[in-house]
């Protein structure tokens, strides 16, 4: 366990604390600016992960109907059938170029960064004597910011170390609302449209629950962390907008942002969704071909390649059947 402690300290905490302190020194002794700039740097560094996560989620979305079909096919069966189901499921993932934990992987990687950043903020601006004394162990000796401790925690009339609930008006109410709203927006942009009613319900729940939960938690967070989450979400929205192909954002029944092409594409998707939900049992072949068309657009090179392979295999099977028949 000690090795994890050392890794945590040396790989995450100390670099973060020293970067924050250095930025504080460079940015006019303003810790708020230091947090914002550092948030931008972290989000930029994590763009590859964000892109990967977005792609994985979209790929996963496109294979949902097939996954459901497999599950329905083996429903109530046991033994070899279950093994067969597992094998087919894995095959499906492989063909689509999806890792079963691909969507969660990047998020899990981001978790230590979030926790580390939270801890770094608190440890860089300690409120207890022992916290202050321990800070000396965390600075690199070359860091010129070491002589500037304790750092000024005031930012726009807000004490970044104090809890949001204790902040002055309007921050004590504005910050939780802004955090919740920015999270809602980000969540809205990352949620893919689906025709599966259960999936839709889940998405809706996540869309509302996460921002409400985080908004509520923000009330008891230090203001510095709330500033971090707010800017992290805002940057996330911007990144998502570009990574997601400048898709329009729908809020309260209206579309915002997006290009003409993406709006038209979205309108088509909505129409297709409506058609899908009207037809109670859509013919599998047409659904499958729709899915393939959609996935080809969304998934990019890897998936297109796997779709081509699938098409080749299907062609081979058809030829074999024809040969047998003849």
């Amino acid at each position: 366990m000690e090795i994890f402690g050392i890794l945590w300290l040396e790989v995450i905490m100390r670099p973060m604390i020293n970067s924050l302190a250095l930025l504080y020194q460079l940015l006019f002794s303003n810790f708020g600016l230091s947090i914002i700039v550092f948030t931008v740097l972290i989000r930029l560094a994590m763009i590859p992960l964000t892109v990967r996560q977005t792609r994985q989620m979209k790929k996963m979305q496109t294979i949902q109907p097939k996954l459901k079909a497999i599950q329905d096919k083996y429903k109530g069966k046991k033994g070899d059938a279950r093994r067969q189901m597992s094998s087919e499921t894995m095959g499906l993932y492989k063909d689509a170029g999806v890792s079963p934990v691909g969507c969660l992987g990047p998020m899990i990687i981001q978790m230590p960064i979030w926790i580390g950043f939270y801890r770094a903020i608190l440890r860089t601006m300690p409120s207890t004597p022992e916290g202050m004394a321990n800070l000396s162990d965390l600075f690199y000796s070359w860091n010129p910011a070491i002589a500037g401790v304790p750092f000024n925690s005031q930012f726009l009339g807000l004490s970044l170390v104090d809890l949001v609930s204790a902040a002055v008006l309007p921050w004590n109410y504005a910050l939780p609302v802004l955090v919740g709203a920015s999270m809602f927006l980000q969540q809205k942009m990352t949620t893919n449209p689906t025709s599966d009613p259960r999936q839709k319900q889940t998405n809706q729940m996540m869309l509302w629950m996460m921002p409400i939960m985080f908004g509520a938690f923000t009330w008891q967070f230090p203001a510095g962390l709330a500033v971090y989450i707010l800017f992290s979400n805002a940057i996330g929205v911007v990144i998502q907008y570009y990574v997601g192909g400048k898709q329009p954002v729908e809020l309260f029944g209206r579309s915002f942002l997006g290009t003409d092409a993406s709006r038209a594409e979205r309108a088509e998707q909505v129409a297709a969704e409506a058609a899908g939900s009207n037809a109670k049992t859509p013919p599998p072949s047409s659904e499958e071909s729709d899915e393939d068309d959609q996935s080809t657009e969304i998934l990019g090179k890897d998936s297109r390649r796997s779709n081509r392979n699938r098409a080749r295999r299907t062609g081979r099977r058809t030829r074999r059947r024809r040969n047998k028949g003849s």
């Binding site: 996963m60 949902q64 996954l67 599950q71 046991k78 033994g79 279950r82 093994r83 189901m85 597992s86 499921t89 894995m90 993932y93 079963p100 934990v101 969507c103 969660l104 998020m107 899990i108 978790m111 979030w114 926790i115 939270y118 801890r119 608190l122 440890r123 300690p126 409120s127 207890t128 004597p129 022992e130 916290g131 202050m132 004394a133 321990n134 000396s136 162990d137 070491i146 002589a147 500037g148 401790v149 304790p150 004490s159 170390v161 104090d162 809890l163 609930s165 204790a166 689906t194 259960r198 999936q199 889940t202 998405n203 729940m205 996540m206 629950m209 996460m210 939960m213 938690f217 008891q220």
Partner: protein, 445 residues
């Protein structure tokens, strides 16, 4: 702002509940080892991750002060120590037990105590505080040495602030340094409070002088001047005479701006002030020189003042003996600095931070008596260092971090360890004699 305290229970914040759980991994042949069920399963996983994150964040609480820096103080052959819960307890070295009838407060403690108590006449004074989130409750207590009863009635004096440094007294006036007070918004980050400690006082607060930063250093008094320093790096010399002043600020005689925050206590000796800062310096300032010096930021080396580069943050109060100033730093280094020149005679390093001052004592080995420093280590143990050349002479094995100043009394060295025990050792052979838990009084030998 300042008022008598009523009964205040449950001062200590509740310990956050621990989170436990189990993870089941299926190894059944008939089940796939890893299944992904899309959004339906993703939701609980996501919520679980969020809760783990929140729990990880919440379980590590940096906002609650822990204390344990209060060292033992001896008076009338009894030791007084502020324990980690913020209770002041009395230890009898003769019976080697805590005195169960002498304890303040009787119930829950004040929270954290970072400074030694101060004995003046037949009374003992000290401070403690705790914080819930960013709301802090501090208490200044004054007790009768004989029975531990509060001289102000039920309890002490309450201030909504952090009380870190030790108090000082002049006559019936008690002086205490604070951080900003509760919801007050007058721009002051700290105060020097002058309090009437007499039992029948109609008004407790005599005056308060606003400061430019949190006052962690405690107060040191020399004649009619109180010295207090702030985390903004200012050292204040404040007139505490009974003269009339137009404003409290008018009491400020002079200030000095150090390069870094001043967190530790100030030593006054032979008309000089010694202290360290968080820009890794130790200073010697002449009191008389400061009265005529025009510079608030420069040391006047021509008048015997100096600034010494300690190499790391200096929190512990410097100590002085026979023309040598011993400066301890948070990187574990101790330097013996020539008092007149400010030049290091030797420097040595122990493992761990040195937060509190070392104690000077005579170490006997056979017929030889050697002067030594007992240096408390924030990692563990109290190290014995020769004052001659900084050699390591031995170690008092506490096996626990020590952030309080050890006390040498009647051939024993008493140490308040950070885990809340009082351990005592023979100064001659450094062997442990006994151990008692300061919370409950049980033995921990």
């Amino acid at each position: 702002m300042l008022r008598y305290v009523g009964i205040n229970t449950n001062r200590r914040p509740k310990t956050p509940p621990s989170i436990t759980g189990t993870i089941r991994i299926s190894t059944s042949e008939s089940e796939p080892k890893l299944q992904y069920h899309g959004g339906r399963r993703r939701l609980p996983i996501l919520f679980a991750l969020i809760f783990v994150m929140i729990a990880a964040v919440a379980c590590v609480n940096d906002l609650t002060p822990e204390g344990g820096w209060s060292g033992p103080v001896v008076e009338d052959e009894k030791l007084f120590i502020g324990n980690r819960d913020g209770n002041l307890v009395r230890f009898d070295p003769e019976t080697q037990n805590l005195d169960s009838s002498w304890r303040y407060p009787d119930g829950d403690g004040l929270g954290a105590m970072y400074s030694n108590t101060v004995v003046i006449g037949d009374k003992i004074y000290g401070v403690g505080y705790t914080c819930r989130g960013d709301k802090c409750d501090g208490e200044i207590f004054g007790l009768s040495l004989s029975d531990g009863s509060s001289i102000w009635g039920l309890h002490g004096l309450e201030l909504k602030t952090k009380l870190v440094g030790s108090v000082a007294a002049s006559g019936d006036t008690l002086f205490v340094g604070t951080t900003a007070i509760g919801d007050e918004d007058d721009g002051a980050e700290g105060y020097l409070y002058a309090l009437d400690s007499s039992a029948g006082a109609s008004r407790i607060e005599k005056y308060r002088v606003p400061l430019d930063g949190n006052a962690f250093s405690g107060v040191t008094i020399e004649g009619s001047t109180a010295y207090i320093a702030t985390m903004a790096g200012s050292l204040y010399a404040i007139d505490i005479s009974d003269s009339e002043f137009a404003t409290p600020e008018a009491r400020i005689k002079w200030t000095f701006e150090a390069e870094g925050a001043i967190a530790g206590p100030i030593l006054v000796a032979s008309g000089n002030l010694y202290f360290g800062d968080l820009a890794s310096n130790a200073y010697k300032l002449g009191i008389s020189t400061r009265l005529i010096s025009s510079s608030r930021t420069e040391v006047n080396t021509g008048s015997g003042e100096w600034k010494f580069d300690a190499g790391a943050w200096v929190w512990a109060k410097p100590i002085i003996e026979d023309g040598t100033v011993y400066v301890s730093a948070l990187d574990g280094s101790i330097s013996a600095v020539d008092d007149s020149s400010g030049i290091a005679k030797w420097t040595t390093t122990i493992e761990g931070q040195i937060v509190s001052s070392p104690a000077l004592f005579d170490r006997k080995r056979g017929n030889i008596t050697e002067r030594a420093l007992a240096v408390p280590s924030g990692e563990k143990n109290v190290w014995v260092i020769s004052v001659i050349d900084g050699r390591e002479l031995g170690v008092f094995l506490t096996d626990e971090p020590v952030k309080s100043t050890p006390l040498v009394h009647n051939g024993n060295l008493y140490v308040h360890t950070l885990n809340g025990d009082l351990k005592w050792f023979s100064v001659d052979n450094t062997s442990q004699i006994g151990c008692v838990e300061l919370k409950g009084g049980g033995r921990c030998d």
